[in-house]
């Protein structure tokens, strides 16, 4: 892998962000709105429940972690969409650039943008609602890592779907986190789900994160063995996502899809 080529993909995105407030704002604006919304809901529930249960780390913490996963995924897919929107595939893929270098560049961009979003969310959750992520203890690191790897895997999968099905399939990619969230047990234990939904939950890495987070909030120790399962699954999915992208890319080269994507005048 040539670092200069990976850096070129990252630099292209930095150029786009540097002169474009409309690209910078979504990195943190929507997650900030989510934090405010769920922060006030959590505060309201604390006031009316009279159970003494603190909803802030359970609900606000959950939405923060879920938004982090969403931001990671969207960081990767949005970087990819920039090449869809500017019809740039032919320019990029007719160069020495390898798919691994291209995808690595997208992932670096996803890491950067999601970290900015995470910092904003943490600052807002702590400043406005007193949620300290330190209350999750040592489990916070694997929480973030599992969600991070899963977000990258989803992002690469989304990019592969759009590469295979064309620009109009973008709308299939944006709602992927929303489709997964009922199964991931973001706000509730997966034991409340019907049996068939629980089966799906067990193969979703985030469900192990949110399960463990609720245990920590309830004063129990983090379920490290279950977090390890979630971590293992996320790494498997990342590998599968890379294979999927590579497979779609090979299909696109075989059929001429890459060339047609931007060169509609191919004779």
């Amino acid at each position: 892998m040539n670092p200069s080529r990976v850096a070129a993909i990252v630099l292209r995105q930095l150029y786009l962000y540097s002169g474009s407030p409309q690209r910078v704002l979504p990195i943190f604006a929507w997650v900030a709105v989510d934090i405010l919304l769920w922060g006030f809901i959590s505060r309201y529930l604390n006031g009316v429940s009279h159970t003494g249960f603190n909803f802030v780390p359970a609900l606000l913490g959950a939405i923060l972690l879920w938004d982090f996963l969403t931001r990671v995924m969207q960081g990767v897919t949005t970087a990819f969409f920039e090449d869809v929107w500017s019809r740039n595939f032919l320019n990029f893929f007719a160069t020495p650039l390898r798919t691994s270098e291209y995808v690595a560049g997208l992932v670096v961009v996803g890491v950067g943008t999601s970290l900015v979003g995470l910092v904003v969310m943490l600052a807002l959750a702590w400043g406005a609602f007193g949620l300290s992520f330190l209350s999750y203890g040592a489990a916070l690191a694997p929480f973030l890592m599992v969600l991070f790897v899963t977000g990258i895997a989803l992002g690469i999968t989304g990019a592969a779907i759009v590469l295979r099905l064309g620009p109009a399939s973008e709308w299939l990619v944006w709602p992927i986190p929303t489709l997964i969230s009922p199964f991931a047990g973001v706000f509730y234990p997966i034991s409340v789900l019907p049996g068939w939904m629980q089966v799906i939950s067990r193969v979703l890495p985030p469900s192990y994160v949110f399960d463990s987070m609720r245990a920590v909030v309830a004063g129990k120790p983090a379920a490290w063995d279950r977090l390890a399962i979630g971590g293992g699954l996320s790494i498997i999915y990342l590998g599968l996502a890379c294979l999927f992208f590579a497979s779609v890319y090979r299909y696109a080269i075989r059929t001429g899809l890459i060339a047609r994507y931007s060169a509609e005048t191919v004779s």
Partner: protein
């Protein structure tokens, strides 16, 4: 095939279902040579170019760029080439300078800042360095595409209709810059065009493609006379009409 060729294409085929878009095409480009690839729409020119650029896999056949097998060493082979095509404008949301920097990094160009300055001056783009590529005129975008194509001093330069839809003065400048590139001994060029006067003026050799096959090959200045045509333009029309006759149908 020529051992020293910057491009060797051997029995190249591409089939889309039952359609043979490119059918056993073989040719080579020597260093310092400009080879014209001409033919009617649908003849297989761009399909051939796309295969040489590695964005379309051949059904069969072999492509070597500067002695490197494209199928086996795609990245190494493509590091020796570059291209400009009217249907592949550079990202319009980056400035001229940003585009050159990004693509210069992809081609791992040494002394990139200096190379960018040289190209901005050579293609009269210095005053547009901070201008978004998307707001440049057609001629300016073509010059930017050529500047990008020259970034890595390619051994093989592929130009797909580089002067399409630009004014005659700019077209003349572009032809001059490409012939100067070849004269400096950097490499060889494959040039597709529908402008036969341009092909005759620029190309050392011309290949006529029709229905995916090379049907004629030779010096564009002598080829029309050899085939009883008054000009290369007339020969093009003759070849295009013959390709449409029923006995030429696949």
């Amino acid at each position: 095939m020529t051992a020293a060729a910057v491009l060797s294409v051997d029995k190249l085929c591409k089939a889309f279902g039952g359609l043979r878009a490119v059918d056993a095409v073989s040719f080579h480009v020597a260093p310092g040579e400009i080879v014209g690839l001409v033919g009617p729409n649908g003849a297989g020119k761009t399909t051939t170019i796309n295969m040489i650029l590695g964005v379309l896999a051949p059904t069969s056949g072999r492509i070597e760029i500067d002695g490197v097998d494209l199928a086996a060493n795609r990245s190494r082979a493509l590091a020796r080439t570059n291209f400009a095509a009217v249907y592949a404008p550079l990202p319009g949301n980056l400035t001229v300078e940003q585009n050159l920097r990004v693509f210069g990094m992809i081609y791992a160009v040494e002394g990139l800042s200096e190379r960018i300055e040289q190209l901005l001056a050579a293609y009269d783009l210095a005053r547009y360095r901070k201008t978004k590529a998307g707001v440049l005129s057609s001629g300016e975008q073509t010059r930017l595409g050529l500047a990008k194509a020259m970034l890595n001093r390619p051994r093989l330069l592929l130009l797909d209709e580089p002067t399409a839809s630009i004014d005659p003065a700019t077209a003349r400048d572009i032809r001059a810059s490409v012939t100067a590139f070849v004269a400096e001994g950097h490499g060889g060029v494959v040039w597709t065009s529908h402008n036969m006067y341009e092909v005759e003026a620029v190309c050392d050799r011309v290949l006529f493609l029709a229905r995916g096959k090379v049907v004629l090959e030779g010096d564009p200045k002598t080829l029309p006379h050899q085939h009883g045509a008054a000009s290369l333009d007339d020969l093009f029309v003759q070849v295009a009409h013959e390709a449409l006759l029923p006995e030429h149908a696949p």
